[in-house]
């Protein structure tokens, strides 16, 4: 039982990481109706930036916010330079463009930083605390706390501020928003910036566990897709809960299902995507899309 709880807590920690990346996917999905396949690679690149800052002697807790700000700016820049010129293109074109962007960012990271896996520091002690007989590592608690704070911050920004309100309006009702004086195009750029910063958090949190290299996020993005799909792809809350469910499920499957171990965990993530799409295509929090034809 004790081990079970430990596995659940680690699952929540990794789930918080999935949730951050899934939330980034949802933010962009809401803004332009498609999944940004480059989200994971953008997060990886931001993590390399954090690595470079820390390597130059900057303290972790200073490098962390600076990286988020840079990721935010980078997201806006990508939206302005790459996405905006093709805004009105068919969805398939945009999908190919984000796939191309993923390859480009991946190659660029390899070119600058190389493909040798590097260990990334964690600011949390590797010790464990004894909570009523369950040993929980400070790392897991730290990851949970950081992800929780970031998700809470995004929630407050979107739900409680005027900028958040105009971002939501621009994403869901661009035509109506324009008639209310909302600068829709810039709101979409802000959405990219926010998604990029939130994604960067997932990269920085996962790097101490996985080792940092250009392909680091390629499995994480699958879990994030699973989380976003499970949550209903357009619901930020759904992405967070989906992330936690996927994290715990994958962790428990790895620990208890014979044969899954570490290697087949990714298959569990894919199985979740397929199962959701078959059984409940709108996810836990999504609504059926109603279109007038």
């Amino acid at each position: 039982m004790q081990e079970f709880f430990q596995q659940v807590v680690s699952g929540i920690a990794i789930g918080g990481i999935f949730a951050s990346l899934a939330l980034a996917l949802v933010l962009i999905y809401n803004a332009m109706g498609l999944v940004n396949f480059a989200q994971g690679e953008m997060a990886m690149f931001a993590t390399f930036v954090a690595y470079a800052l820390i390597n130059r002697g900057m303290s972790y807790w200073i490098a962390f916010p600076i990286t988020l700000v840079l990721a935010f700016g980078g997201g806006i820049l990508i939206q302005r330079l790459v996405i905006k010129p093709v805004e009105r293109a068919p969805v398939l074109t945009l999908v190919i463009i984000t796939l191309g962007l993923a390859t480009l960012v991946n190659g660029f990271a390899g070119f600058i930083f190389g493909y040798v896996p590097r260990s990334f520091p964690s600011p949390f002690s590797a010790d464990s605390a004894d909570l009523f007989g369950v040993f929980i590592s400070y790392r897991d608690m730290g990851v949970i706390a950081v992800s929780g704070l970031v998700l809470l911050g995004v929630y407050l920004l979107l739900q409680r501020t005027t900028v958040g309100l105009t971002m939501r309006a621009a994403a869901h009702h661009p035509e109506a928003s324009r008639l209310l004086g909302v600068q829709v195009s810039w709101m979409l750029a802000l959405g990219w910036g926010l998604a990029s910063a939130v994604g960067a958090v997932s990269g920085i949190m996962v790097a101490p566990i996985l080792l940092l290299e250009p392909n680091m996020m390629q499995s994480i993005i699958i879990y994030a897709f699973a989380a976003a799909v499970l949550g209903g792809i357009e619901s930020p809350l759904g992405a967070v809960i989906g992330g936690l469910i996927v994290g715990v499920t994958v962790n428990l499957a790895g620990a208890y299902l014979p044969g899954v171990g570490g290697d087949l965990q990714l298959a569990v993530g894919l199985a979740i995507i397929i199962a959701v799409l078959i059984a409940r295509p709108n996810g836990l929090f999504g609504r059926a899309a109603i279109r007038r034809v």
């Binding site: 939501r168 309006a169 869901h172 008639l179 209310l180 004086g181 909302v182």
Partner: protein, 237 residues
């Protein structure tokens, strides 16, 4: 009275299909003007041209300034509130959030609060439903929300696209009464597109009748209303 809005020989269309073939009309400051005509005559397109929702040529002057090359957001910020066809309610948001979008650009906090009070006086039902999703409102209530939101933008000119569409006659009466009150209380000019010519002519002081993208008849609302042949050939009642 000086003209607040003036369209001069406006041509507009969607891609290769041209809809307006040289429409000229004007709205005086603080006035109510009706834009009438059959389906497909170009009424909605005229409004869309004013807020840059469609490509146009010719000239549109608002408050002495040409709107040529301005983006929709800039035109709106200059003081035009456009309640589009279908009302443009953000159904993903709550009633309160929709109203906030109306007032989000204003910096005159005290005035904004007064306008909220006024809006809730006009439309008490919106106050009751503030926290609810706008998608739960009935058609009439959505039209009220759209009007309330437009009022909160503190515009100089309101463009209303078929506010009566799909509403019960009693609701239409109430809404038109409120449009009149808004116009009288805050000197907001109104350009009103309507299929329901009878009620529009009662409200407005002057009117234009569009026929396939051209102004066929124009004049004082009272004259048009009393003119038997205009009524029969263009207004259908």
């Amino acid at each position: 009275m000086p003209n607040l809005l003036e369209l001069k020989e406006v041509h507009a269309g969607y891609g290769p299909r041209s809809v307006l073939h040289g429409v000229s009309l004007s709205v005086p400051e603080g006035g109510i003007v009706s834009l009438l005509g059959a389906n497909g005559a170009g009424k909605t397109t005229t409004l869309r041209a004013i807020t840059a929702g469609v490509r146009w040529s010719g000239d549109i002057i608002f408050g002495g300034r040409s709107l040529r090359r301005l983006a929709t957001e800039e035109i709106v910020r200059a003081g035009i509130a456009h309640v589009p066809e279908g009302r443009g309610i953000c159904t993903e948001l709550t009633v309160d959030e929709n109203l906030k979008l109306g007032s989000h650009l204003r910096r005159d906090g005290a005035e904004v609060r007064k306008d909220y009070d006024r809006v809730f006086e006009y439309f008490p039902v919106l106050k009751e439903r503030r926290k609810l999703s706008a998608s739960t409102l009935s058609g009439g209530e959505q039209q009220m929300l759209a009007l309330a939101r437009a009022l909160l933008m503190k515009p100089k000119l309101m463009l209303l696209d078929e506010p009566s569409l799909g509403l019960a006659p009693l609701v239409v009466r109430a809404i038109f009464q409120i449009v009149k009150s808004i116009n009288e209380a805050s000197r907001v000019a109104v350009l009103l597109v309507e299929q329901n010519a009878r009620i529009a002519l009662e409200l407005s002081s002057s009117a234009y009748v569009l026929e396939v993208g051209r102004v066929a008849v124009s004049g004082a609302s009272a004259d048009l209303k009393d003119n038997e042949s205009v009524r029969r050939s263009y207004l259908g009642y």
